[in-house]
């Protein structure tokens, strides 16, 4: 007979809002008074995951800090589409310095805030640094690692769209294997990125044993907000790596941005987890397991795998990577729960 969990809210926390939940249990994005930190009028492509991810994350950080937030931004799409003279879409104190130094600029901001506070000249303002995968995993990696190592009071957010999109979709060290970019073609036998290269910065961040490292996607808003909020409640260096599909670079339909992020997570391609002081503390389990093909097929950057004779072996290698993630992070679908 009826053995239902009493707490059942139709869409639970899957949707952005839910009128059935108590207001304090609702998402930041559902709030009519959300900051819209990255406001309308920006010049991101239609359906840009990075624009979405940035608003999600920064609004959450604004909410968590009572709007006492400053952001440092690396060069990249996010910066270019948000602040072309004479207009900015940012509603928060924001600075763009260079491609590779966002983490260090943020360190400087945090230091200034600390002194000002110490002197009684300023309040408890918090700092976020943000950049694309290129600005994070490649050119900005030195500054990022330095910031981690010093355990500066900065939350660094990487918006990973798997390549240098702003310069026209070139390979970065976050470009996944077999994905084709403008600069993967010359290397290796296939047009896609070579297997076995690249780096997964969340794991490297964990190796710094900083207080908090997490991954998230634009498909799981509540998880993303939870992580940003949690991160803002912690002092010291924190890192959140958000998967943000890029319709332009991935060759996906503009309306599929969130779906692609969801597929990345559900196939195990992109593990969603959080770690404290170098140890994984929780994972977002797969809810509806799917083969990687479901994720690969809609993307033109993998189109070369699905020609007349599909690259079965390559797809199998990608599947093996996903399976490895599933094993390593224990992402197996769990029964029930919402």
């Amino acid at each position: 007979m009826s053995l239902q969990p009493v707490k059942f809210y139709q869409t639970g926390t899957f949707t952005v809002g839910n009128r059935l939940l108590a207001p304090e249990e609702r998402s930041v994005q559902a709030n009519m008074q959300r900051t819209n930190s990255l406001n309308s009028g920006h010049r991101a492509c239609q359906g840009c995951g990075e624009a979405l991810g940035a608003r999600y994350a920064i609004d959450a950080a604004m909410n968590a800090t009572n709007r006492q937030l400053i952001a440092a931004n690396a060069t990249g799409c996010l910066e270019v589409f948000s602040t072309p003279y004479p207009e900015t879409s940012w509603q928060i104190p924001w600075i763009h310095s260079l491609f590779g130094n966002a983490a260090a600029v943020a360190t400087g901001i945090a230091a200034a805030i600390k002194v000002k506070k110490q002197k009684g000249q300023g309040g408890d303002v918090r700092v976020v640094a943000q950049g694309g995968d290129g600005g994070t995993t490649d050119i900005g990696f030195g500054c990022l690692s330095g910031m981690f190592e010093r355990n500066d009071d900065v939350l660094y957010i990487c918006y990973d769209n798997g390549g240098y999109m702003n310069t026209g979709v070139q390979r970065s060290s976050a470009t996944p294997p077999a994905a084709r970019t403008a600069t993967t073609m010359p290397l290796g036998p296939e047009p896609g990125n070579v297997f076995g290269q690249g780096k997964f910065v969340p794991a490297i961040a964990m190796a710094h044993e900083i207080p908090y490292v997490a991954t998230a996607t634009v498909a799981d808003l509540r998880d993303l907000e939870y992580k940003v909020t949690k991160a803002m409640g912690i002092r010291g260096a924190r890192y959140i790596h958000i998967l943000v599909p890029c319709p332009l670079g991935w060759g996906t339909a503009s309306h599929d941005t969130i779906r692609m992020a969801r597929l990345a997570k559900e196939t195990g391609i992109f593990p969603v987890f959080e770690a404290e002081y170098g140890e994984v503390k929780s994972v977002l389990a797969i809810r509806r397991p799917l083969p990687v093909e479901e994720y690969l097929r809609p993307q033109k950057r993998y189109a070369h795998l699905f020609g007349k004779s599909p690259a079965v072996a390559t797809i199998a290698r990608i599947q093996a990577l996903a399976d490895k993630n599933i094993r390593k992070y224990r992402l197996q679908a769990r029964q029930g729960g919402h």
Binding site: Y9, Q10, T11, G12, Q46, T257
Partner: protein, 544 residues
Amino acid sequence: MDKPFAITLKPGSSLANHTGSWRTTRPEYVDRLPPCNAACPAGENIQGWLFHAESGDYEKAWHALVENNPLPAIMGRVCYHPCEGGCNRQHMDSAVGINSVERFLGDEANKHGWKFAPAAAASGRRVLVIGSGPAGLSAAYHLTRMGHKAVIYEEAPLAGGMMRFGIPKYRLPREVLDTEIQRLLDFGVELHLETKVTDVQQTMKDGFDAVFLGVGAHIAKRAYIPAGDANKVLDAVSVLRGMEDHDAPLLGRRVVVYGGGNTAIDVARTAKRLGAEESIIVYRRTRDKMPAHDFEVEEALQEGISIKWLSTITEAGMGERGDDIMVEKMALDENGFPQPTGEFERMEADSVVLALGQDADLSLLENVPGLVVDKGMIEIDAGMMTGHPGVFAGGDMAGNERTVTVAVGHGKKAARAIDAWLRGEKYAPLPKPELATFDRMNPWYYSDAPKTMRPVLDIIRRQSTFEEVLGGLDETNALFEARRCMSCGNCFECDNCYGVCPDNAVIKLGPGKRFQFNYDYCKGCGICATECPCGAIRIVAEEN
């Protein structure tokens, strides 16, 4: 701040950049027709009332429900819920238990004595309603809502039609029936019992501007079965009607019911409850061909009713005591029709109850010019009007689908048509919006939640008493069940569009007010439409 030129900018100034000009397609909010609503013969706005039930506002939900159907407590018991058959949730786990929530709401209303919302101002027009079955009650209710005076003439001593004299109490307790009928009377419906109409045209002269016929179909169909005297051969309608009398019908130890509809099942189950040791249904086809609903067959089998498939009764009143019957085995031909096999079997039977369907008694319509009767059924147009102007009809007498729900739907539709007719207009139903099919939705967003089972009365009590078999949901369960609704095709304010737009181009208008697109900034990416769980956004090509 004395900002340096060009490198330092004023916050939020990009609002000056109207990115809406990039758009080649635009999102639009739509209300699509939920499949449950589409499937409900009473035309209930199920998604609409579940919306209120989801938030625990049962009174509002009930009010939304009774806008279309004044009998939720009854309906929540006897309706065969075709809505659930349409429910999109079945593609995920199982259909929403719409019917059980409806019953819960009906019971809540009865418990708390909720009243209908006030009717429209009196129009001064009077409409005669013949018959107080669901068709008549529904027509009378809707006419009253619209401000007309509805007067029911009912032949029987009690109102309810087949709901009282057909459907057994273990499925529809009479208090429930009485309460809902009383609410209608309190609302202003005038009821005259034991008032048989024998000549419509004559009765109309009592100052009625129009008439609605809802006389049902009460004349049992008989099959020719050669029978001796000793054998009791009865018909199902009389047996069930007899249940409402002081003395219950005497059916004996071994009862054979002939037929395969729900009525057959009801009689067989009633016989069991009356003390029959054996209650056997004889049906000429197979189980999957049986018109009775599967869940009723299932319940009957659980209660110990046995069913003889592929069998016909060829003779009754046989043997010394005259209580044997002869049954012939049938076989299905390639078209699925039963054909005699010539194989016979003798069975003992204290009584044989024929449950072979009913015909309508249309004698009161003799002499009405323009009426067309075809195969015992009165013909009506799309606006429920018969061939005679001002004479409308619905329910069992006017349709092949004979259920309480269809009757209620007919009553409503007829009331609207009568209302139009009284104003000298022709009733034109609103065009139906496109269907909210499952492929237009994004089911990802719904929490996993299997259907809540209604508590079922335990077997022993079911075999001996007329207590209600199916229980109702309690508040928690009802809420749970309501929340399983996916609000197909209709915004339920999940805030997804508001959240997922990378361009903040969705304006949230506040609770109950839904959303608006800000086309100044919408780039037409379509994410909102793709991520709308219920499919309430469509993308259309931008003109020029």
